[in-house]
């Protein structure tokens, strides 16, 4: 188990309110005409401090923006807004030339070792290349010595056997060791490790993680460890940050998060940790549905469509009713499905945003209201109904009003910070998450 860093340790990198949005498709012409083509909010308002010498785990499902955050920390992708402060400089705003100099200090280990090495460059050249780029070795002989040293450090021995090899001649684990050697040769202080073992065989995973811990001890490295696998995060990290749709929903010391998970999403993740069964490395299904589209994140708390504890202020909207109807219709028979669907004039109306929605009925609004009332009666525990403040008939339509959405922010609790209204005394005086353990 890695030793805990002193909490008074100074910050290596401070991330403040960082957002990275990717523009969606859309031609140059569309942009010229000022048409908004929309954007994927890969990282959306993230703040945290990376302390010198710690291992911070970034945990989340696929598409939660972990890789994007890691790339932004190295200046490989430009932030849309926010700052990344390293030694008093903002990496996100640095010029490309200055960034290149910083890259001696900030290095990355990639998820796919098979793609991270130039297939046409032998190992000796590839691993020595950072030295050449940053002019860190006076002579070719000095460079060679340091390459040999790096190869020995990552366990690619006997070195002479590996110097002349090409990536195609290596196994996955050996490639990842080579990638690590290339990353440490310039003497960095931070390594961003983007799922460094997820594409490796079970048998070599532990060895690579051990190697990384050994390097951290010997070289005083700081890691940002990106993973979707809580089991390795528990073993490897001092602190973990749980990500969901571009946001950090809970962050704190690993032991605390695992002992007492607070955010409903963290709880769901932990409940899904597989028994030590090597064949299950992906998280099991979370309750209720898929991770939503990052181009159109849900309002309020992005987790509310899947959250079993969601209530009034969590951000209910028409889309949630549509999801509810669709899930009902997959369960009931074909005839009833057709009958119920024909009550609506236009199902597309269920995509309109806003706190107040009007649903036009095809024939009579009363039938529609009856359907909604029945749904509520059948499953009164459904969190959706906690967000509905009013349902009325207005002529040929049913008007639904939702509670005003509130966007959650990280609330400090002990050493942990959680982003959930259940812990906000102003919003949820009565809700006690602990007695609603999923």
């Amino acid at each position: 188990m890695p030793t805990k860093p002193d909490p008074t340790d100074d910050a290596l990198i401070e991330v403040r309110d960082l957002s990275v949005h990717y523009r969606l498709g859309g031609s140059a012409a569309a942009r010229l005409l000022g048409r908004d083509t929309g954007a994927v909010r890969a990282v959306d308002g993230v703040s945290f401090v990376l302390r010198r010498g710690e291992v911070l785990g970034l945990v989340g499902e696929s598409g939660s923006g972990k890789t994007t955050l890691g790339r932004a920390m190295l200046g490989l992708v430009r932030p849309t807004s926010g700052r990344i402060l390293y030694r008093g400089r903002d990496i996100g705003a640095a010029r490309e030339r200055d960034l290149r100099r910083l890259r001696r200090d900030l290095q990355m280990i990639f998820q796919d070792p098979h793609a991270a090495l130039n297939p046409a460059m032998d190992l000796g050249t590839a691993i020595g290349h950072p030295l050449r780029i940053h002019r860190l070795a006076a002579t070719p002989a000095a460079r060679h010595r340091r390459v040999v040293e790096a190869l020995e450090r990552v366990g690619l021995v006997p070195v002479e056997q590996f110097l002349g090899k090409y990536p195609a001649d290596l196994s996955g684990g050996q490639k990842q060791r080579a990638v690590i050697a290339r990353a440490i040769i310039s003497g960095p202080s931070l390594l961003v490790a983007d799922e460094p073992v997820s594409m490796l065989d079970m048998s070599v995973r532990a060895k690579i993680l051990d190697l990384m811990l050994e390097l951290r001890r010997d070289l005083g490295l700081t890691y940002l460890y990106i993973t979707h696998d809580l089991a390795t995060a528990k073993f490897f990290c001092d602190r973990v940050a749980i990500c969901y749709l571009g946001k950090i929903v809970e962050i704190g010391p690993t032991t605390q998060i695992f002992a007492e998970p607070r955010h409903p999403y963290t709880r769901a993740l932990l409940a899904a940790i597989p028994e030590p069964d090597p064949s299950r490395t992906v998280m099991r299904d979370l309750p209720r549905g898929e991770i939503p589209d990052a181009a159109r994140p849900p309002t309020g708390c992005a987790f509310h469509p899947r959250c079993p504890h969601a209530f009034g202020p969590c951000g209910w909207e028409a889309r949630d009713l549509r999801a509810l109807l669709e899930s009902r219709w997959t369960r009931i028979g074909d005839d009833r499905y057709r009958a119920e669907q024909s009550l609506f004039a236009d199902l597309a109306e269920l995509d309109t945003p806003g706190r107040r929605i009007q649903i036009r009925a095809a024939a009579n609004a009363q039938g529609l209201l009856d359907l909604l009332t029945e749904m509520r009666a059948v499953d009164p525990a459904e969190p959706f109904w906690r967000g509905v403040t009013d349902i009325q008939i207005d002529g040929d339509r049913v008007v639904i009003e939702f509670a005003p959405p509130v966007e959650p922010h990280l609330l400090p609790m002990d050493e942990v910070a959680v982003s959930c209204h259940l812990y906000d005394a102003n919003l949820s005086p009565d809700a006690q998450v602990s007695d609603r353990t999923p």
Binding site: R71, L74, L76, R100, R101, R103, R104, Q107, M108, F110, D112, A115, A116, L117, N118, P119, A120, M121, D122, H129, P130, I133, H134, G164, Y166, V179, R182, A183, S186
Partner: protein
């Protein structure tokens, strides 16, 4: 699954000596060419090599010089039929057809080599820069190259040859340059498109992450992986260049007859002979063109088939099943996991 072992039909890659690794890696698909591709490749290569030999050793192979019309004080016959002294006969200008065909190979080779080299030197770096940097530079280059590409290639070559003949005369280099312009867009396109997809590869981002400048990324990371598609266009273009050169010569815009022997020009002079039953002046240069173009095309197609992964169908490998333990044998005819 562990009971199946896949036996490659061919020997596994032998550990190559340190020195020639790079070349060997590039050539390994050629050595592993199979079936039709192999036949095409070898037939094409054989024909091409024959012409290269003719070109290089022309002065020793040809009985006379390409512009020689007399020997030992005896002028050659005019439009003389093939005989022992003039194996392929003589032309209306009393030139030896056999010698002109052999020296024509030299002209063709010079033009092809020069034009391919120049278009490579221009097209590949442009494509690399355009594809990697993108932006307005890329857009304008693509526009220019597409315009050039859409232009009828022979017309383009004629226009350029016309312009160049004023500057440097109807030399071999002028002909090569006019042909070059036709081929630059092809190298540009292929290299640019491969670069655009290759720059998304993780190893390119990794190169940026270790602090490589764009020029270093292009030279050390993209170039070696992008040029692999170039030999194919090179050979295909070589065949096309021969045809364009001959067309230029035939139309009178090519290499001037005083500069070198050129098949297209000879064909054009032979047009009038054909009606008079003089077949040898036209047949031999024509045959040379057809044969060399065929050879280069075969080699190009063979290479294409071998190197281009989308066309390539790998030869089937034999799957060897080890003998099963007797107890299991009856059940596992249709084995299921």
């Amino acid at each position: 699954m562990s009971q199946l072992s896949v036996e490659p039909v061919e020997e596994p890659r032998e550990p190559a000596p340190q020195g020639g690794r790079g070349i060997r890696r590039v050539l390994s698909p050629v050595r592993s060419a199979r079936g039709i591709a192999r036949i095409l490749l070898w037939a094409g290569a054989a024909i091409s090599v024959l012409f290269v030999v003719l070109a290089v050793f022309a002065p020793w192979i040809a009985p006379y010089r390409f512009d020689q019309y007399s020997a030992g004080g005896h002028p050659f016959p005019k439009q003389g039929a093939p005989d022992a002294t003039h194996l392929f006969g003589t032309t209306v200008q009393s030139l030896d057809v056999a010698s002109r065909v052999v020296f024509g190979a030299r002209t063709a080779l010079e033009v092809v080599v020069q034009s391919v080299v120049i278009s490579l030197l221009v097209g590949v770096p442009l494509g690399l820069v355009s594809g990697y940097l993108g932006g307005w530079l890329d857009r304008s280059l693509v526009l220019v190259m597409d315009a050039l590409f859409a232009f009828p290639s022979l017309l383009l070559a004629i226009v350029l040859s016309f312009l160049l003949s004023g500057l440097i005369g109807g030399t071999v280099t002028a002909a090569a340059l006019s042909i070059t312009v036709v081929y630059i867009p092809q190298y540009f396109r292929v290299v640019r498109n491969t670069t655009v997809s290759a720059k998304e590869a993780t190893y390119v981002e990794a190169a940026r992450a270790i602090g490589a400048r764009p020029i270093t990324v292009m030279r050390r990371y993209l170039f070696t992986n992008v040029v692999q598609s170039v030999p194919v266009i090179g050979t295909l273009n070589a065949a096309d260049a021969i045809l364009t050169l001959a067309a230029l010569g035939f139309l009178g815009y090519g290499v001037q007859p005083t500069q070198a022997a050129e098949w297209g020009y000879d064909l054009q002079r032979a047009v009038a002979d054909a009606g008079a039953g003089i077949w040898w002046t036209g047949l031999y240069p024509g045959l040379a063109i057809v044969l060399l173009v065929t050879g280069l095309t075969l080699a190009g197609e063979g290479l294409n088939e071998t190197l281009n992964p989308t066309l390539r169908t790998r030869p089937l490998r034999r799957v060897l099943l080890p003998p099963l333990p007797a107890t299991l044998a009856p059940r596992t005819h249709r084995d299921r996991p």
